[in-house]
Amino acid sequence: MGTIWVVAEPGLDGGLARISAEAATLVRDLAATAGRDAIGIVVAPDPAAAAADLATYLPVVWTIAEPAAADNAWSAVAAGHVAALIAEDSPDAVFVGAGADGRDLAGAVSALTGLGVLVNATGVAWTDDGPAIEMSVFGGKLLTTSGFTSGRGIVTVRPNVATAAPADAPGRVEARTTTVAKPLPAVRVVDRVNEQNAAAPIEEARIIVAGGRGVGGPDGFRIVREIAEALGGAVGATRAAVDSGWIPYSQQIGQTGKIVKPELYLALGISGAIQHKVGMRTSGTIVAVNRDADAPIADFADLFVVGDLFEVGAALVERIRTRPG
């Protein structure tokens, strides 16, 4: 029987990245419809914790203990092992998250194996010709379904495509060893810096509250943060707000920033120019607050409140906080 794999990316403190739990759930469901075995792979200096977590989603998890992953960038170290496993076991498809580590891994493994890559999957089905991958392209203007001409390949999966759900029973964890014929050059990690007040990552957030030029300055982001906190969401921003230095680039949504698909996107003082729109138009629900009733975001928001974002924002925080239940 064939196999479908998911490669786990490193999460915080040696745990499992959230996107890997989502991808594992997706792969488990896909494997069930495809009549294939779902297998998770963890490459880490000490893979035990992440593997135990991954095994709550999948029937089988392979671990590769790789000390070099401790002080070196993960993708180059992991790619050699993953490529060696692929050469040995010929999976039908290999899934990985479409975040920084997942993209780096997918590119390197593609080069090492010659397998094609379908990127930023928003949905997946199984056909007689292998996986059929749905993607949202041209900033959400078009949906495409793509496949691999050989029937096999690598897929990167967007965050929030599947909801991580544990399997009925935990799977088994097996240690594997590989021979990496020609390792990629390791890149040393000299330091890992946690920035003070680092904002919650936006890619995986269920709710995003974002500010644009209309926020007016770094102090203006206080209300954006307050609403995000009240809703349990993350703070996002437009390029104009980032370029003005009001908020770090890590929070930027749009063409040269991140593409997000939260359940709720609350846009404050954001006009909705195309460069921003391409990063958020596929969000579940879009609510906008803007003084300018003619702002382009009025064309694609679900709810548009014409008003001052600070006044509406303050009232909103009050109402959310005092809401019963």
């Binding site: 949906l143 495409t144 990167t156 890149v187 391409v278 008003g307 509406v312």
Partner: protein
Amino acid sequence: MRIVVLVKPVPDPASAGERLGADGRLDRAAVPAVVNGNDEYVLEAALKLIEAAGEGEITLLTMAPTNAPETLRKALAMGAHRGVHVSDVALGGSCAVSTARVLAAALRQLEFDMVFAGIDASDGVGGIVPAAIAAHLGLPFLSYAARIEPDMFGRTVRVRRISATGYDVLEAPLPVLIAGTQALGEPRYPSLKGIMAARGKEIVTRSLADLGVDAISVGGAVATTAVLDSRMPPARAATEIVRGTPDEGAARIVEFLADRRII
């Protein structure tokens, strides 16, 4: 210091007119091409590095259809020294696997200390080609760069790689391939002098034969992926517009989100 900057002409995202052709491939003729946004950031970083060093050369490398030189001129006008344009009819319909192989072959013919690439391109948004090129060439790969700092002896480079909680500081011996982000800093506008100078700068064209790549090993005929179907996304429902006092607006937002079980 010799830096090669990978540049991709992409359909202008501001045009919002991108579309697929009948063959399921991007219709590059439908919309004017511009330099990919993230490529401009890494080019800016390269320009600043050679300015700070007081010496150095920047070569642009692109794989693109025959009209690419017009797009490259803008990047040359920013201050890059020359361009290499890989173009061959056999490259039409190339997938990421072919693209990485061909660009790696082109880089083998160039001398460099560092190769810079944008972290992804606004048309494909896959972000996988730079890592693949680095793997083909056996180059250390440093990605998601927010800062690039070569040491003063030109032996190693340090890169701040954006992480979920801040950044990692990566270090590798040259030569390297670095994929960079907008956090590197705003690209300059070409000056009039730069635009004039760009007209006289050399753009060399390289065919697959020039690169020693067998034409049947790349291109659309051996593409690893194919678009099977495309459709418009379901239309969003009409926008509900609320005018009133701030509190009325806030009340409607809360009600709207509660109805949708978001809160």
